[in-house]
C-alpha cells in the first residue's frame, strides 16, 4: 500500500511540484494579498474595515465552501508537499553562506512558521476562548472583536513574526516561482524580478504590520459604536446590505 502510494507520488512528481508551486501563487498567495489589504483598511477606520468584512460575508452560506475550496484545501496541499520538500532537502548555509542559499533556507523556515502561525491564527480567532487574550472574531463587530483578540503583547509579537514570515515566504516564493516556470531565465531578468519581489514583499509587510498597528491602536469603544450603527442600518435595508456605505472603495480589493 505505502509502496504504491509512494510510486504514485513519484510518478506524478513533476505535476505535483508544479501544482504546489502554482498553488502558492493562486489561490493561496492571492488570498494572502487580499487578506492583508482588507485588514489594512482598518487604518481608514473601523467602518471601512467593517464594510469590507460585510462584503466578504455577503457570500452567506457559500462562504464556508469557498473558503475550503479556494483557501484551506490548496493551502493544506501546498503545506503537505512543502513538508515533503523540506524533509528531502539538506540545508547547508553553514558551508555555503551565499545569499541564494540563505534565502533557500529561510524559505523553508518561514514556510513552517507560516503554517504554524496560520493554524494558530484560525484557531485563536474562531474557537480559542480567553487564554492568551484569544477572542472570537465577530463578523458584525469586525474591528473591535479582532482588536480585542490581539491586545496581549505576546500575541501581538507572535502576529508580527507570523505575518512577516508569511510575507517573506510569499515574496521570495514569487521570485523562485518565476525561475521554476521559466518566466525569468537570464541573470539580469532574475535581478529585475527580484527587485519586483522585494517591492511586493515590502508593500505586503507594510500592509500586514499596518493592520496590526491599526488594530492595536484602535479605540475599541468608538469602533464598536460605529459597528453597531452599521448593523442597525443593515437590518433596516436588509436586501441592499452589501457594502452600501461606500461602494467605490470596494473595487480595488
Amino acid at each position: 500500500m505505502s509502496d504504491s502510494s509512494a510510486s504514485f507520488l513519484e510518478r506524478h512528481q513533476f505535476l505535483i511540484y508544479r501544482l504546489f508551486s502554482l498553488a502558492g501563487l493562486v489561490p493561496v498567495g492571492a488570498f494572502l494579498v487580499v487578506h492583508l489589504l482588507t485588514n489594512a483598511s482598518v487604518l481608514a477606520g473601523a467602518g471601512t474595515f467593517q464594510s469590507r468584512v460585510d462584503m466578504i460575508h455577503s457570500l452567506g452560506p457559500l462562504l464556508v465552501p469557498i473558503e475550503w475550496a479556494f483557501i484551506f484545501l490548496p493551502m493544506l496541499f501546498h503545506a503537505a508537499v512543502g513538508f515533503v520538500i523540506i524533509a528531502n532537502g539538506l540545508p547547508n548555509v553553514g558551508s555555503y553562506p551565499y545569499v541564494g542559499n540563505v534565502r533557500y533556507t529561510m524559505q523553508r523556515a518561514t514556510g513552517m512558521i507560516a503554517f504554524a502561525f496560520i493554524i494558530w491564527h484560525i484557531v485563536q480567532l474562531h474557537w480559542m476562548g480567553k487564554p492568551l487574550g484569544g477572542g472570537q472574531f465577530d463578523p458584525h463587530r469586525a474591528a473591535s472583536s479582532a482588536a480585542a483578540a490581539l491586545q496581549h503583547p505576546l500575541v501581538a509579537i507572535l502576529y508580527a513574526v507570523g505575518v512577516l514570515s508569511t510575507v517573506f515566504h510569499f515574496a521570495n516564493g514569487l521570485w523562485t516561482l518565476g525561475i521554476t516556470w521559466g518566466l525569468w531565465t537570464s541573470p539580469a531578468a532574475m535581478r529585475r524580478a527580484n527587485a519586483v519581489s522585494v517591492v511586493v514583499g515590502l508593500a505586503l509587510a507594510g500592509a500586514g504590520l499596518g493592520s496590526l498597528a491599526g488594530m492595536l491602536t484602535l479605540d475599541r469603544d468608538k469602533a464598536q459604536a460605529e459597528e453597531e450603527r452599521m448593523e442597525k442600518r443593515k437590518l433596516q435595508f436588509e436586501p441592499a446590505a452589501v457594502g452600501s456605505p461606500e461602494p467605490a472603495a470596494h473595487t480595488g480589493v
Partner: protein
C-alpha cells in the same frame, strides 16, 4: 599576490639576518580505509613551498607517508589528472567547501581560512577510499538526459547544420562543464545515495538496484545544463523531447529548490541557473503541449 607575499617574506628574513625556521603546511584529512568503513581524522605536516596547491601538498604527504605525530601511515589516496582544472577529477571539500584541489592554492587558503587546511572527500558520493569518491551517479545523470548529439548510424549523414556565432557564444559556456560535481556537492537538494550490496544479492541485481536508485534521485544542475546545451544544438535538438521527458521524470528539474549554490561553486562559472530556468520554461511548454497532444 602570492609572489608578493613570498617576496615580502624574503625581505623580512634578510632584514633580520637569520634564516627562518622552515615553514610547514599543516593539513587535516578525513580518511576512510574502505568503502562503507569508518572515517577518521589524520593530521599531516609538509614543508612549505611557494605556489603550492592542494595536489602538491597531497603528493608530498604521499611521499612522506607519515602522520604529523611521526607514525608511518598508508599514503592518502586522491584523484587527479590534468592539474589545470579541466579534467574534473580532483573535487574535494577543502576547508569545508567543494572545489578543485589542483587550483586551490595553499597561500590563498592560509590567508582566507587560517593555518591548518582541512581536506574531506565529497559528501554526496560514496567514498571509495580517503579522498576518492565514486561519481558514477554524476555520469548516469548525463545518460539520463542523453547529453550527446545523436549521430550514430551506418551511413553518412552529410555535413551538420551551421551554427551562428550567437548560438555558439550562448552554447560555449555550457560546453565547458568538466563533470567535477561541485554543483551537486553544494546543492541542498542533491542528497547522497549509497547503495550497499546485500549478502544474498548478485552483482547484476545489485547493479540494477543501484541504477534504479540513481534514476529516481535528483539529476542535478550539471545534467540540466547539459540537456539545455544539446537541446540548443541543431543536431542535438532532434531528441529534444526525450531530454525534456527525462527532465520532467521523477528526480527531474522539479527537484531544484533554487538555492543557486550550484552556480556559485561551479569552477567553470557555467550559468547553471540560467540553464535551470530555461529548462523550467521548456518543461512548462512541453508539459502543456503534452497535455493537449494526448
Amino acid at each position: 599576490m602570492i609572489t608578493a607575499a613570498h617576496g615580502h617574506d624574503g625581505d623580512a628574513s634578510h632584514e633580520h639576518g637569520h634564516i627562518p625556521a622552515a615553514r610547514m603546511v599543516r593539513v587535516r584529512v578525513l580518511r576512510q580505509d574502505v568503502a562503507g568503513g569508518e572515517s577518521y581524522w589524520e593530521r599531516f605536516e609538509v614543508p612549505y613551498e611557494p605556489n603550492m596547491n592542494v595536489i602538491s601538498v597531497l603528493q608530498k604527504i604521499a611521499a612522506l607517508a607519515r602522520s604529523r605525530d611521526g607514525r608511518r601511515v598508508a599514503p592518502v589516496a586522491w584523484d587527479c589528472s590534468c592539474l589545470e582544472e579541466v579534467c574534473g577529477s580532483c573535487t574535494m571539500l577543502i576547508n569545508g567547501r567543494t572545489r578543485m584541489a589542483c587550483s586551490a592554492l595553499v597561500d590563498r587558503l592560509v590567508e582566507e581560512d587560517g593555518e591548518e587546511i582541512e581536506l574531506r572527500p565529497m559528501s554526496k558520493f560514496p567514498v571509495v577510499r580517503d579522498l576518492v569518491v565514486d561519481r558514477r551517479r554524476l555520469f548516469r545523470s548525463l545518460e539520463r538526459v542523453k547529453a550527446w548529439v545523436p549521430v550514430d548510424g551506418s551511413y553518412d549523414h552529410g555535413p551538420g547544420p551551421r551554427i551562428s556565432p550567437e548560438e555558439q557564444e550562448d552554447a560555449y559556456p555550457l560546453a565547458e562543464c568538466i563533470s567535477c560535481g561541485c554543483c551537486l556537492e553544494a546543492c541542498p537538494q542533491f542528497t547522497k545515495l549509497e547503495a550497499v550490496r546485500r549478502e544474498d544479492e548478485s552483482e547484476a541485481d545489485f547493479e540494477k538496484r543501484r541504477r534504479a536508485a540513481f534514476d529516481s534521485g535528483f539529476v542535478g544542475a550539471h545534467a540540466i545544463s547539459q540537456a539545455m546545451l544539446f537541446n540548443g544544438h541543431p543536431t542535438g535538438k532532434m531528441i529534444a523531447d526525450e531530454r525534456l521527458q527525462a527532465l520532467t521524470a521523477p528526480g527531474g528539474i522539479q527537484m531544484c529548490g533554487n538555492a543557486q549554490n550550484c552556480v556559485a561553486v561551479c569552477p567553470k562559472r557555467i550559468p547553471l541557473t540560467r540553464s535551470i530556468a530555461r529548462a523550467g520554461r521548456a518543461a512548462t511548454v512541453w508539459a502543456i503541449r503534452k497535455l493537449f497532444d494526448r
